[in-house]
């Protein structure tokens, strides 16, 4: 099987590899896995004023999974939280020319984005609401 040049490029020069502290302000963390192949992906976003100012990933898996998450972090930077939620796995497939057997890698990246956004929103919600008000009467 041949990987596209873009996949190889992301694999050899991954963008934004690394991590933020999970409890840092404005950081959302998504950890997802693909049960079919056992790949594990961690994707984090750092949000300021509803805009993603930075994104990082760590993926332990095949070249396509690494490339998909690397590309995702590039796309996330500069997007608002709402825009980020619109990223579709099919766009990743197109950009990286993923073959059918590797489509699940792009799905994993989309799942990771969603998980990171949800984590961010959950944290933001609990921070906004004073503690007494957050507990139902």
């Amino acid at each position: 099987m041949a990987y596209s040049e873009k996949v190889i490029d992301h694999y050899n020069n991954p963008r934004n590899m690394g991590s933020f502290k999970k409890d840092e302000d404005g950081v959302g963390t998504g950890i997802v896995g693909a049960p079919e192949c056992g790949d594990v992906m961690k994707l984090q976003i750092k949000v300021e004023n509803e805009t993603i100012v930075d994104a990082k990933f760590k993926t332990f898996g095949c070249g396509s999974a690494i490339a998909s998450s690397s590309l995702a972090t590039e796309w996330l930077k500069g997007k608002t939280v709402d825009e980020a939620g619109q990223i579709k796995n099919t766009e990743i497939v197109q950009e990286l020319n993923l073959p059918p057997v590797k489509i699940h890698c792009s799905v994993l990246a989309e799942d990771a984005i969603k998980a990171a956004l949800n984590d961010y929103k959950k944290k933001a919600d609990t921070e906004d609401v004073p503690e007494e008000a957050a507990t139902p009467a």
């Binding site: 950890i31 049960p35 079919e36 192949c37 594990v40 961690k42 760590k58 332990f60 070249g63």
Partner: protein
């Protein structure tokens, strides 16, 4: 007979191993035999044929391994391309196609893990439809270990020997613990096999909910086992004295 008289078998189509078909050569009607009763020509195995039916086994997970071997060898002989070398092109092609399908069926059913994954796909339409909750604790553990592994790989022998040794010992302990966990998962999978096999095989009696409970249980064990298997493989590759770093980007 009136058109509306229900056939005695109505609604029990699942009992028929294969749909009715026609011999590609002499057009006589067949009910799924591998060779035409009239012109004796080999018939192409249907792509929809499930592996259990193909190998004449019930859809059980603790299967009769001897029966599997015997049926496989018997069918291999009857489909073997060597016997079709002098036949016409269509028969040659059927012999090749059948042999390929038969080999895949045999390999899949012989391996317990592949057998279970296959059964789940078969029964649930697609294994992906069964979503098991992601094991968050396991992911955290794996990510932490992978980070230690990365550090270990980055330290070349000769320098920072103390840190290297410390990491190596830690990783070897983790590897043993994870190997034990994988073995435990395989025991639990075997227990699910017996639960599945104990379900009555009549679809009317076995509720879908009962089936789904076992299938979901199996899917969960299988998924977690894949994560554990991957990290164990990485640990083995990195910590064995002769091993390359063993990362495989092509899987």
């Amino acid at each position: 007979m009136s058109e509306h008289t229900p056939l005695p078998d109505a609604g029990r189509g699942r009992d028929l191993p294969m749909a009715r078909s026609m011999c590609w050569h002499c057009q006589s009607e067949m009910t799924g035999e591998y060779f035409c009763g009239r012109c004796v020509k080999v018939q192409p195995l249907s792509k929809e044929l499930d592996y259990f039916t193909c190998l004449n086994l019930p859809r059980k997970l603790n299967l009769d391994e001897q029966a599997l071997e015997e049926t496989f060898y018997a069918l291999s002989r009857s489909f073997h391309p060597d016997y079709y070398a002098t036949k016409d092109e269509s028969e040659k092609a059927i012999s090749l196609g059948n042999t390929a399908l038969l080999n895949t069926a045999y390999r899949t059913l012989k391996d317990p893990v592949q057998r279970a994954e296959y059964l789940i796909r078969l029964e649930a339409g697609s294994a992906k439809d069964i979503r098991t909750s992601p094991p968050a604790d396991l992911f955290d553990e794996i990510l932490e270990l992978q980070e230690d592994l990365e550090e270990f790989r980055s330290l070349s022998a000769g320098e920072s020997d103390a840190r290297r040794q410390e990491l190596l010992e830690k990783l070897q302990v983790e590897r043993q613990a994870l190997e034990a966990r994988k073995a435990q998962m395989e025991t639990r999978l075997r227990e699910q096999f017996s639960r599945w096999d104990a379900l009555p095989s009549d679809g009317a009696v076995t509720g879908q909910a009962q089936k789904d409970a076992v299938l979901t249980g199996m899917q969960e064990i299988l998924s977690n086992r894949t994560y554990v298997k991957n990290i164990v493989n990485d640990l083995v590759a990195a910590t064995s004295p002769t091993g390359e770093d063993g990362r495989n980007i092509w899987h």
